[in-house]
Amino acid sequence: MKRILEKAVKWLLTASGFVTSVVILLIIGFLFTEGAGLFREPVVEEGYVLVLNKENPVSAMTAAEIKAVFDEDVVNWKDLGGPDMAIETFRLEDVDEYFSAEELGPQYENAGGAIAGLVESRPGMVAFVPGSMIPEDAGVKLAEDRNISPGEVFGGREWFPTATPAPLFGILPLLAGTVWVSLFAIIFALPFGISIAVYMSEVASEKVRGFLKPVIELLNGIPSVVYGFFGLIVIVPMLQQVFGLPVGESGLAGSIVLAIMALPTIVTVAEDAMRNCPRTLREASLALGATKWQTIYKVVIPSSMSGIASGVVLGIGRAVGETMAVLMVTGNAAVIPSSILEPLRTIPATIAAELGEAPAGGAHYQSLFLLGVILFFITFLINMCVEYISARNRAKNS
């Protein structure tokens, strides 16, 4: 009886030991299935087609081209490799401008035929209508249906997930926003982080350290949404005044908030590394006549470099994945930023802001899961770097 209990408990404990691994696998699995679905979605909104005149040699357009056409940024077919001919766009909302109610029928049952006839008679027209409306024998052609390609997503410079007829899922602006904000956050946090770590581990008395330690822990404990709130109420208006910006919500505001949030991670890990620097090294340096400061920057810091690096990399990881604070203060403009003073938008903020509105299972929904996959892999890589650094460090020390 006792032995069975021992065995059962052992199995139970073993099983719970693997829970984290299972969760990681599940995260990868679920995010991937949803995210990869994006590449099975058509470029044009599902269920809709682009109807073209038969004479028109253009038969396929990329999502970006379709958007340009319907935004009237491109107004001539020759820009798309066709003849020199003005582009006329037609959306379903325009139907009343072209036809009277009698022509369409009381239930709009004749609308499909009428639209097909209209496109047939106008060589430069492109119509965006539900595919089921157009009769099969109509004298028009449908633009080739393609799926969203990885190139459009990973190389795309525009993020317009709700544009019709063709949403754009270019992730470059979001990636750029994430990198900019995290980069500046680390640049701000680094001098502070290292100085405080050195101060706590080498200079400060036990009493001062006993005061600083809980301060750092508390900074780490403040919820990100409170940082966001503080940033929104205090930092954003301050930046607006100092730099004379039209809106204070900017990459800079995000970086400042993130710098404060990443600081505890950097300080804790770096301080730990420096305190673990062997006492004999320090004493040898001091015995050779070096000052305390020389010992710090010529002996202690170099010997604990890998620990400091781990702290910095973990800080970057924290900054990259941070959602709420960034969402609240960066202004959320999905454009590739040309200056840190402009509004921008990060990957996590995009997910948080848009998932609520994206219909489940649609292309937009799937694109947000794809962003989740990208985010997961960025942080996965960052963690692997940390593991590698500390594994190398252990090997060096033993």
Partner: protein, 293 residues
């Protein structure tokens, strides 16, 4: 280490560079302390006037422009409880396995790697995952259940790590003593190892609750309700939560003027919860350390 600040015979230049460097360190450290006090002071100063018995015990009214935040407080407490139910048993068992059972080698290395990786996963990714698995695939819908499971998984790595570290510090001699008296491995763990490690484990658990109380991103799509004035009646209900309430009220409010005081009040309540949790953990740590000595 008692080292005189300037060993005899150093040039004035060296001395000066040390003085300057140390002053810079002091100033930067002081700045960070000021930042913390600025944040805390600002929120306490602005929020203290809002806090009243009614604010803490009433539901929001008039399109969230007046009334209190009682449902959000209850929601946050429920989510803390729920995530504890999910994460504590599994996390503690996992920590015990890592330190007491797993044979040294690749298994431990692999699990530790995965645990570290899980702790690095951004909270919004947990939100996405929770939505895909619990809300959609398992069909729990937006509910306290889905939110608790998501938050529980999020705090799992922290629980595992603190358990493992607490047990690691217990000397092997104590285990061997118990085994030598004829106790089985399970008895040794249950009667000797766990009671000795408990103080530090509990400190870690409390800190993980603190993290859960402030998380917003994981509950955005798994649980949090914009407005749900009645208290939830089952685990399949949605609930309001303090961090989400603060986010909603400070960013997408309908009446900024009227809602700003509520935002300050909500932020203050959140901060107070975090402060209490940190103080409790610190107090416990000190208390147990004294007792062990």
């Amino acid at each position: 280490m008692n080292i005189p600040p300037y060993p005899a015979g150093h040039s004035a230049r060296k001395r000066r560079s040390q003085t300057i460097a140390f002053i810079v360190f002091r100033v930067l450290s002081l700045l960070i302390v000021l930042v913390l006090f600025a944040i805390l002071g600002f929120i306490i100063y602005k929020g203290a006037g809002v806090i009243s018995w009614d604010f803490l015990t009433k539901a929001p009214e008039d399109g969230m422009t007046s009334g209190g935040i009682f449902p959000a407080i209850v929601g946050t407490l429920l989510l803390m409880l729920g995530s504890a139910i999910v994460a504590f048993p599994v996390g503690i068992m996992s920590g015990i396995y890592m330190n007491e059972y797993a044979s040294r080698g690749w298994v431990v290395k692999f699990i530790r790697l995965m645990t570290n990786n899980l702790s690095g996963v951004p909270s919004i990714v947990f939100g996405l995952f929770g939505m895909a698995l619990f809300v959609k695939y398992l069909g729990f819908g937006d509910s306290i259940l889905a939110g608790s499971l998501t938050l529980g998984l999020l705090s799992l790595p922290l629980v595992i790590r603190t358990t493992e570290e607490a047990l690691k510090d217990i000397p092997d001699g104590i285990r061997e003593g118990s085994l030598a008296l004829g106790a089985t491995k399970l008895q040794t763990i249950w009667k000797v190892v766990l009671p000795m490690g408990m103080p530090r484990i509990i400190t870690g658990l409390i800190l993980s609750l603190g993290r859960v109380s402030g998380e917003t991103a994981p509950i955005l799509f798994t649980c949090a309700a914009y407005f749900f004035p009645q208290l939830p009646s089952s685990v399949f209900d949605q609930c309001m939560a303090l961090p989400y309430h603060l986010y909603v009220i400070s960013t997408s409010g309908t009446d900024i003027e009227a809602q700003q005081p509520i935002a300050y009040g909500t932020a203050l309540v959140l901060i107070v919860i975090v402060l209490i949790i940190n103080l409790a953990a610190g107090f416990l740590r000190k208390h147990f350390e004294k007792r062990l000595r």
